[in-house]
């Protein structure tokens, strides 16, 4: 095969049922079309027939892919995208930072794909070309933090794992008499990187994620449940082969330039995403509070969700992903008068956590008050509120749960209790009142264990709402499920005109993703601009590079790809096409796996009714509703116009055969498209 740079040209296919590892060597043409990451993953979902509606996402035939791109490795950060068919029966392409992506490239792999199901708990030990399926019974049941620290020591390069050779005679007699060698050999280096699931993934909670470095996660759409369904606890990788680059000098100079630019970025380097808190609540009016009943507190004195307050209270240090100078993650140690939370190690929380398992669970108000009232507490009270939020972040991370979907799920139940639809008798005796971290702790334990009501809630927000709606014979309960396309809404509301636009969540190719892009275009109705924004973001998830650092990359992105791969003619247009291909494939995937006859009615319109029904009650955008309160304009005018601009049909949003041909993906997708056109 052609001499490849940037990529290694090899993807490992591990079959856990047969206990075999085979190597896939895609043609260079495939890399040029899809780059890697999410678009490449989408391609394989089609190539391998994962679009089959009868294929059980949690069955052995599902394909779980760990994919990186041509600049992952020595690039200025190391994200990895996990692509699979989600337990929710939707498209999953979820990215994660840390060091794992780089290490996988250094081990010589563009991807690791897992099929089948192991007969007992296992983990994959990837040491360069060698991939072993190893017993994981000693870490099964453990949280991600402990499991990772144990597994890290078990995968060493050959050079680092020699048996003992030292004899007493190698030391001088005085030394040997004082402290003879133990002759235990070499094994002290810890250079492996780990992605693991916790008990949530093991028990196949639908919204479980895959976690690296204790708090970084391929968070959304439930890749952890798929991993758990395969009895796969973790993938541990150690690579010594390095990253092969067409023009190393240029590549490293570009990386260095990006890093220098990042060093001047005081926004990210100050508090990471925690810096957005106050702005989101008090300027944008788009912060999730009590299941989105409010999006800003009436009293802007609530400040436990802000970067400075979190830093003053708890930030201990800052950590970077490989090669990045933004160090946006801050590990913390929780200090609280409540022994449940005191001394627990957690992280920040980041932007999504502070919304979804902070404001959204009613942690930030004094007892007996609601967000519409003045704040009467002290700084000390706010520190305790922050502790609750950080503790809830920790229990989601350590059990490998997505706190976005999890926060919506818990907040739904709390609102149903608030409104009297259900009470603690429906919740195995747990009294889910706003702000009660002990109740949340008990409920999360039940969800993770799939015990009692936890077994129902383990299927996510929408299914929880459906369960209670049927149980109580009250379909209006579904109005309180804050999900779009059956997946929980992240911490950006669409009622305020200052944050996301409703069209963004309706059209994004991964259910209710907040990282889809194209915001400005959607707000102005410039569909071409919106699509270009979406395509760039999809291509970022294929490269794979971080959206936080995107501003620092943007000017060098194409040059980096060229320097890595040697594709001297690669252009922005090619990058757009990568995103367009992923969008076309993922759209067909969603329509086909659910066998939608009328996608608009059955799928696209599944958004939170609250968007249009409940005007914002407080804050600078008080009274606002989504899309100016015109859902029909959104779905009957804007959406078809957007589809048309993408070259999809205006009635169902199916990519036309002509479009597929133009994108060069008719070979894998045309047969599926024909069934729905």
């Amino acid at each position: 095969m052609a001499d490849l740079f940037g990529m290694t040209g090899k993807i490992a296919r591990v079959d856990l049922t047969k206990e075999t590892v085979t190597v896939i060597e895609p043609e260079e043409e495939i890399y040029r079309k899809f780059l890697g990451g999410s678009a490449m993953g989408a391609y394989f979902l089609f190539k391998e027939g994962i679009f089959d509606p009868n294929l059980d996402p949690l069955g052995p035939d599902n394909l779980l892919q760990f994919m990186v791109g041509p600049v992952t490795g020595a690039g200025p950060n190391a994200r990895i995208t996990l692509v699979t068919k989600s337990a929710y029966n939707i498209f999953c392409a979820s990215t994660c930072g840390g060091h794992f992506g780089s290490e996988m490239k250094y081990a010589g792999w563009d991807g690791i794909q897992v099929v089948g199901k192991a007969s007992k708990p296992v983990y994959l030990a990837v040491m360069d070309d060698t991939i072993e399926i190893r017993d994981a019974s000693h870490v099964w049941g453990k949280g991600v933090e402990e499991a990772e620290l144990i597994l890290k020591s078990e995968v060493l390069a050959e050079l680092e794992s020699r048996e003992g050779m030292l004899r007493d005679a190698d030391l001088n007699p005085t030394w040997a008499a004082m402290r003879p060698p133990k002759r235990t050999g070499m094994h002290e280096k810890r250079l492996a990187q780990v992605m693991a699931i916790g008990p949530g993934g093991e028990n196949q909670v639908w919204y479980s994620c895959v976690v690296s470095e204790g708090a970084r996660a391929s968070g959304r759409w439930g890749a952890g449940a798929v991993m758990g369904s395969k009895n796969l606890k973790a993938v541990v990788v150690r690579g010594t082969k390095g990253h092969r680059l067409a023009d190393k000098k240029t590549f490293l100079a570009l990386v260095s330039g990006i890093q220098k630019s990042e060093r001047g970025d005081s926004f990210w380097r100050a508090y990471g995403t925690a810096g957005i808190g106050a702005n989101s609540a008090y300027v944008e009016d788009a912060f999730p509070i009590r299941n989105w009943q409010w999006c800003s507190w009436a009293d802007p004195h609530v400040k436990a969700i802000t970067g400075p307050f979190m830093d003053q209270t708890s930030f201990v240090r800052k950590t970077s992903c490989y090669g990045c100078n933004l160090h946006c993650m801050y590990p913390v140690e929780i200090t609280s008068t409540d022994p449940l939370m005191n001394n627990v190690m957690s992280d920040m929380p980041d932007w999504e956590a502070m919304g979804m398992v902070g404001g959204n669970l009613g942690y930030m108000e004094m007892e007996g008050t609601d967000p519409g009232q003045p704040f009467t507490g002290s700084t000390r009270d706010q520190a305790e509120h922050l502790a609750k939020l950080q503790y809830t972040t920790f229990i989601h991370d350590n059990n490998s749960l997505d706190f976005i979907e999890g926060g919506n799920n818990l907040a739904l139940v709390m609102e149903l209790v608030q409104r009297g639809f259900i009470d603690k008798n429906d919740l195995d005796g747990i009294d889910m009142q706003w702000g009660d971290v002990h109740a949340v702790d008990e409920m999360v334990k039940k969800i993770v264990a799939r015990d009692g009501i936890g077994d129902k809630m383990a299927q996510g927000t929408y299914e929880t709402a459906r369960y209670f709606a049927e149980l109580k014979g009250k379909p209006e309960i579904l109005n309180y499920a804050m999900t779009a396309h059956h997946y929980g809404q992240p911490a950006h509301d669409v009622r305020s005109p200052k944050d996301k636009n409703a069209m963004e969540y309706v059209t994004v190719n991964r259910a209710c993703a907040h990282t889809g892009g194209g915001t400005a275009g959607f707000k102005t109705g410039d569909w071409a601009a919106a699509i270009a924004g979406q395509n760039v973001n999809a291509a970022q998830n294929s490269l794979v590079h971080c959206q936080f650092a995107a501003g620092h990359w943007a000017g060098s992105r194409i040059d980096l790809i060229k320097a890595a791969t040697g594709w001297s003619d690669f252009s922005d247009e090619d990058l757009q096409l990568v995103g367009a291909r992923e969008y076309a494939l993922s759209r067909l995937f969603e329509v086909h796996i659910r066998q939608l006859k009328d996608p608009k009615a059955e799928w696209d319109r599944q958004v939170p009714p609250r968007w249009f029904n409940d005007p914002l009650p407080t804050g600078p955008e008080k009274g606002a509703v989504a899309y100016e309160g015109k859902p029909d304009v959104l779905f009957n005018e804007a959406l078809p116009a957007y589809w048309k601009e993408r070259g999809w049909t205006e009635d169902k949003g199916i990519p036309t055969l002509d479009t597929l041909k133009k994108l060069g993906i008719d070979d894998v997708a045309a047969d599926v498209a024909k069934q729905h056109l």
């Binding site: 020591s153 030394w175 070499m186 002290e188 390095g242 240090r317």
Partner: protein, 275 residues
């Protein structure tokens, strides 16, 4: 306490006829050694004493730096310094390792690594233990004569080929090795397939400062870039990685990585975590 004096003026190749001016500090190396080492037992200076005690022939026959700065002028190459990292400031971004690896891969394996970035040539490696980062590199441990029968570096003491040498001022290659820091004589080193005593004694009793390159499979150890470490220059976080006058035996900086991580969990998080 004995005063610790720095040696950061120009290196003066010993073979050269001595110039008439004294250095800026007015302290010759011998005076410096006596002043710092003799007064307080156990207080010694990293590489410089090692060089004196080991007394092995300086290994690689490399020309002295072509243009040594004039005497009295500030030299970038410092003797008697040590490398220290601050685990609170370090973010684990790996830029030190990339800088180190690139520098020595290009020096030693230019053809093989013309198109490859690999961290395996780095003498410094950050290791992430989730919430703490341990930056792993040779600490310049020294044995104590009165207790351990030698004042050598432990790795050098167990090397059967005397391949781990201390390169004195005026020898070595400016910016790579010299100025009283270690260097592995790659001709003498037997390589990992025959011998790993240096690495094993390090991991057995001190830390994990030795590694092996993946091409020749010979030992690698931090040479402090001959007194001007590339990693320190590459580090983006002020204070995370510093190059400071050594004030004590390097062995008290040294811990095996997982032990170090355990200590950092205690220090940073008041958290006892067994690793």
């Amino acid at each position: 306490m004995a005063e610790i004096k720095r040696r950061d003026e120009a290196p003066k190749p010993e073979k050269e006829p001595k110039k008439t001016e004294t250095s800026a500090s007015g302290v010759s190396r011998r005076e410096f050694l006596v002043g710092s080492g003799a007064g307080v037992a156990g207080l010694v200076i990293g590489g410089v004493i090692g060089n004196q005690v080991i007394g092995k022939p300086a290994a690689p026959a490399v020309e002295a730096p072509a243009e040594a700065p004039a005497a009295g002028e500030e030299s970038p190459y410092k003797a008697g310094y040590n490398l220290v990292f601050d685990p609170v400031q370090c973010t684990g971004c790996m830029e030190c390792a990339v800088a180190c690896s690139e520098k020595y891969a290009t020096l030693l394996h230019p053809e093989e690594t013309a198109n490859i970035v690999s961290l395996e040539f780095a003498r410094i490696r950050p290791m992430r233990f989730q919430y703490v980062d341990v930056v792993n590199f040779c600490s310049y441990c020294q044995l104590y004569e009165w207790a351990e029968g030698s004042s050598e570096f432990p790795c050098a003491a167990v090397c059967p080929e005397a391949a781990i040498a201390t390169i004195p001022e005026g020898e070595g290659e400016a910016g790579y090795y010299g100025m009283g820091y270690k260097w592995v004589d790659r001709e003498k080193c037997l390589g990992i397939d025959k011998c790993w005593r240096c690495a094993e004694i390090c991991e057995d009793q001190f830390a994990s400062g030795m590694s092996f390159d993946p091409i020749d499979r010979k030992a690698q150890v931090c040479s402090r870039c001959g007194g001007d470490p590339e990693c320190v220059k590459a580090c983006p976080e002020p204070g995370a990685l510093t190059w400071i006058p050594a004030a004590r035996n390097g062995r008290y900086f040294a811990n095996r990585p997982s032990d170090y991580a355990e200590l950092l969990f205690r220090k940073i998080y008041a958290h006892v975590r067994e690793l």
